[in-house]
Symmetry: C2
């Protein structure tokens, strides 16, 4: 087997194993056996179990990269939020293991949490907070909106939707065909909840 094949076989076999059992719940022996390779190959290709886990986590968190495009864009805040919701849906739909790694690192952090997870989360929160602050300063969003809590509300809606999905069967239809409807429903709440409330013009006129 070519070295590159061995390497990718180990990565493919290890990804679902670590997702299910966590870093400490999987041994080098389990990994080698699942990949059908000699145990020494894991050290040879990755340096060890922890380094293999770190490599997988890094690849999983590449799913957070859509935030860079949002940050670099000139879109108005509400469109950035919509891109964010859509990107988050795609992130989970395209990668069935990401949520488990994310949640496991949040509730039982490994040394990778500080190096990979927290910086990725911070970047998302910062980009969205900047968008809210810009929207407030340009008078598009209501001045009373708290930027940080607004971001956490927005991120909470869409992330929790996927986390709680195993328990919502029979309550909502969770499938790709409904994703655009979900985006619309959440954006309706975000729009009304974030946007500056335009009072009836008469009232303002009467006062001035």
């Amino acid at each position: 087997m070519a070295p590159r094949d061995t390497r990718s076989r180990i990565l493919s076999a290890a990804t679902p194993l670590f997702a299910k059992h966590g870093l400490n719940g999987v041994s080098i022996r389990d990994l080698a056996s699942a990949a059908g390779v000699n145990m020494a190959m894991i050290s040879y290709h990755f340096g060890g179990k922890k380094e293999l886990y770190a490599e997988i986590l890094k690849r999983q968190f590449e799913g957070f990269r859509y935030i860079d495009a949002i940050a670099a864009s000139d879109l108005p805040p509400l469109e950035k939020f919509e891109q964010y919701i859509r990107g988050t849906i795609r992130r989970y739909r395209e990668n069935p293991y990401l949520l488990r790694y994310y949640v496991s690192e949040l509730s039982n952090p490994t040394p990778c949490f500080r190096m990979i997870v927290r910086p990725a989360v911070h970047k998302v929160l910062k980009v969205l907070r900047d968008a809210i602050e810009q929207g407030i300063s340009r008078n598009h969003l209501r001045k009373t909106l708290n930027p940080a809590d607004g971001v956490l509300a927005l991120a909470g809606m869409i992330n929790f939707y996927f986390l709680v999905a195993p328990a919502t069967k029979g309550f909502v239809a969770d499938h790709r065909q409904r994703d655009e409807e979900l985006v619309r429903h959440f954006m309706d709440i975000v729009k009304a909840g974030f946007v500056r409330n335009n009072r009836p013009k008469n009232k303002g006129a009467a006062r001035s």
Copy 2:
């Protein structure tokens, strides 16, 4: 040691262990050693490891009981949502292990998921959905609000807030002193996002 003391010692020692390592990551030996009891005492008092885990999970999910009071109350929908947010905050503040059990059952379900977790989640979702539907039918909430997705948005905000807390240090101040402010910020979003949009009266009058 009196049997009742042994029983509660096992429960106290097992709760953080299962929270950290999950059902499969903890052995009877680990449990007995942490509790300072003979391994046979675990079978004697609980029947076995799985039954002990089920007993702990049941106790953890008693933290969801505040939903019964909300369901039984005559409060208008928005006040029910506020009670729900406040009750959820209390649920996590008072029980440092609940979130880990909850998240672990969602991402790596044990047989308890069907018996304890899903029914508890379903009850919360149903009570909140009923409140939204009632609010829509009484013309307090906007007719275009999707009840199920509205509930998931509401539950998502407050649950994700606690889940992601380890990654939000330096972004928001997460402590009890700020909880009332958080309730207000989230309720501002919920109110504006859920409530029927009152159009300027003139417009309506001109049309009729």
